[in-house]
């Protein structure tokens, strides 16, 4: 209680600072570099997230795409500073509006949690505290960071509920989470995350548990809020279609690594990593009923058992010796120019740098990057 009171002035100041530095559209809000997360298990420490790098821009949505266990949620939690006790942030920078969160102590980070960065979880039922009214939970951020009293916080909560489209907020503010439908609970979660107008919103599978009609509503809400607040949104999902419809750029993760990134339209139209390509082909669309789907054989590697070299080598149809020997770094790929691939032959001379290069371009637009020795060939193929 006391600490919260002490924090109040400081956080208010921090908040004021944020408002002043409110990002313009397309400004880089968050820059992640070399992010690595370790998990301690009985088999020793395993690296769940490895050399992850991406950036999120104001007013845009970055999708972190990947299958279960690929490290995308772990990455989100590392960004938000709410990792499990068995996980450690091993390496990397998380630069949010000029501050490296990774270098802060947990207590210092608390000032950023809320005013600068909000997170939405997948399971709205467990993410809401069942024993408090939604009003109490919605108002908490205001009480912590702005030092409001219960009454003022309640008004703010009602305001928030209006913003996210919950009907009759005045009466429902005193209801408990279980009295809401799944979609409404998700709205509440979103409201909670955007309460203090953060510059970055992380949405971890926000619609996975929802029906498609509700999912469409939630996505619409997220879009609206993003545009209103010029937030940078990191959307974590496994759903290719959602990425295609909602995101501006995408980072595809596999076994703790980003294997490909770039603007969504480009990546989906012309995947430069065999995994991305495989995923896209797994979707049963534009196919005759009952026709064989082009599935990816096998399953992802165990995290404690990731082979040296390319993480995708065991499932890759075009694996070669170098893939087993050397891990390809995430590096910019040239946009496909007809006929250029064969001519410059870059695909045959794999890059030697094993360190990831953060794919930032000078013009403020994300560039295409892939972590494959033969990314150019895929394009051609």
């Amino acid at each position: 209680m006391k600490t919260a009171a002490e924090q109040a002035p400081a956080t208010a100041a921090a908040h004021a600072g944020t408002s002043a530095a409110q990002a313009k559209a397309h400004d880089v809000v968050l820059q992640v570099q070399d992010l690595a997360v370790d998990i301690r298990t009985h088999r020793g420490t395993i690296r769940a997230v490895n050399s992850v790098a991406f950036e999120a821009r104001a007013g845009e949505t970055l999708a972190l795409l990947g299958e279960s266990g690929c490290g995308k949620s772990m990455t989100a939690k590392a960004l938000a500073g709410i990792m499990d006790p068995v996980c450690d942030l091993a390496d990397g920078q998380i630069v949010l509006n000029g501050t490296d969160l990774a270098a802060l102590t947990p207590k210092e980070r608390l000032k950023f949690a809320g005013p600068e960065l909000g997170i939405v979880f997948q399971d709205a039922l467990t993410a809401l505290n069942p024993v408090y009214t939604v009003g109490t939970q919605l108002g908490e951020a205001f009480r912590i960071h702005r030092g409001l009293n219960a009454k003022q916080a309640r008004l703010e909560a009602i305001d928030l509920m209006k913003r996210v489209g919950i009907p009759e907020p005045e009466s429902r503010v005193n209801s408990y989470p279980h009295q809401f439908s799944g979609g409404m609970r998700q709205r509440i979660l979103i409201a909670m995350a955007v309460a203090l107008n953060p510059s970055l919103l992380i949405a971890d599978e926000p619609t996975t548990a929802l029906d498609v009609t509700v999912q469409a509503q939630i996505m619409q809400l997220l879009r609206t809020l993003r545009e209103e607040g010029q937030m940078a949104v990191i959307l974590i999902t496994h759903d290719l279609a959602v990425v295609a419809e909602e995101a501006d750029s995408v980072a595809v993760m596999y076994a703790g690594n980003v294997v490909e990134s770039g603007p969504v339209a480009e990546v989906f139209a012309d995947p430069r990593h065999p995994y991305t390509k495989g995923l896209l082909e797994s979707v049963p669309v534009h196919l005759e009923r009952g026709a064989e789907l082009n599935s990816i054989p096998g399953s992802p590697p165990e995290l404690h058992d990731i082979p040296p070299g390319c993480v995708y080598q065991s499932r890759c149809p075009m694996v070669q010796a170098i893939c087993r020997a050397e891990r390809p770094a995430l590096r910019p790929v040239t946009p496909p120019v007809s006929g250029a691939g064969a001519a410059d032959g870059a695909g045959l001379t794999p890059a030697q740098d094993s360190r990831a290069i953060t794919p930032i371009s000078a013009e403020g637009r994300p560039v295409r990057a892939a972590a494959c020795h033969f990314s150019e060939e895929i394009s051609n193929g």
Partner: protein, 309 residues
């Protein structure tokens, strides 16, 4: 809520009757009290007189019918031992037990919450290890032994506290301390367990993501969720105290219902036994309702109106 209460009362009435019938029948299986109340060389005539006077010569069913008839008129019979109204004796003894139990449980719960939270903050940490050892030891010491050692140390050797009795606040210390240890030990483990699991819930992470500090997370978000299992167990433990602080009451001369019950069992004072059992059973039943209401206060999901099949 009223409907719910009414339902609870109706559904608890039958077990209550079963308990009383059981006590009634079992008590009479422990033999005729005549030899306890008559002189050793009492004649058969005296025994027969005694038996007849107390209606013990009737068939069990007749006795039971008489008894329940009396209960309906709020006549719970008379004590063989003291000749007093059985219900009055039970009612007189009950507050002493209730006060002892309530004070003990409040203290145990508060202490257990503090220690349990402290232990849960760093699972398997040093604090956790220490508190789990203490709580296990606390829960496994025979209470009568503890009481006597307590008297020896604090009343005789140190002279800080009175040995026994009910006079003055200081007389409460030893009985409460004795009674406290087991509930405390059990509750610490429960609170610790449910705090650990509560602290790993997504909503805790979310609270942290809103900038809630450690203290706020623990006292605000986790504690109330962790309180429900503790409440159940505290309820069971309170039932135990209400029903069976016999040992402590015996040693400290605490004029409570446990002592009354064991005395009336050993003295075959049937009417008092029945009154005491009935009273505690009603109290336990009331306690259970209170616990349910406590649940509802803690957690809106279990409020009876919203309960689904």
């Amino acid at each position: 809520m009223l409907i719910y209460l009414r339902k609870r009362i109706v559904s608890s009435a039958l077990p209550l009757v079963v308990v009383i019938v059981g006590v009634f029948a079992l008590a009479r299986m422990t033999g005729n009290p005549a030899s306890l109340y008559l002189p050793l060389n009492a004649t058969q005539q005296m025994r027969d007189d005694f038996t007849a006077r107390n209606g013990l010569d009737q068939p069990l069913l007749v006795q039971m019918a008489d008894y329940f008839g009396g209960v309906l008129r709020l006549d719970f019979g008379q004590s063989l031992r003291t000749g007093q109204d059985a219900a009055a004796m039970a009612l007189r003894a009950f507050p002493a037990t209730l006060q002892l139990a309530a004070t003990t449980m409040v203290l145990a719960v508060v202490l257990a919450l503090v220690v349990g939270c402290w232990a849960a903050l760093k699972p398997n940490g040093i604090a956790d290890r220490i508190s789990s050892f203490i709580s296990m030891a606390a829960a496994s010491i025979p209470d009568f032994w503890l009481a006597i050692v307590g008297i020896w140390i604090f009343a005789i050797t140190l002279g800080w506290l009175p040995t026994s009795g009910v006079s003055g606040a200081s007389a409460w210390v030893l009985p409460i301390a004795t009674l406290l240890l087991r509930p405390f030990g059990v509750l610490v483990q429960i609170v610790r367990g449910s705090m650990v699991s509560a602290l790993s819930e997504p909503y805790i992470k979310l609270a942290r993501s809103r900038g809630a500090g450690e203290l706020r997370v623990v006292t605000h978000h986790a504690l109330r969720n962790a309180a429900a299992p503790a409440l159940t167990v505290a309820g069971d433990l309170t039932v135990g105290l209400v029903n069976g602080a016999v040992v402590v009451e015996t040693i400290f001369g605490w004029p409570g219902i446990g002592k009354l019950m064991i005395d009336s069992i050993l003295q075959r004072d049937f009417a008092v036994l029945q009154a005491a059992v009935l009273l505690t059973a009603v109290a336990i039943f009331a306690l259970n309702i209170l616990i349910d209401m406590g649940y509802a206060l803690l957690d809106a999901r279990v409020r009876p109106v919203t309960v689904k099949a």
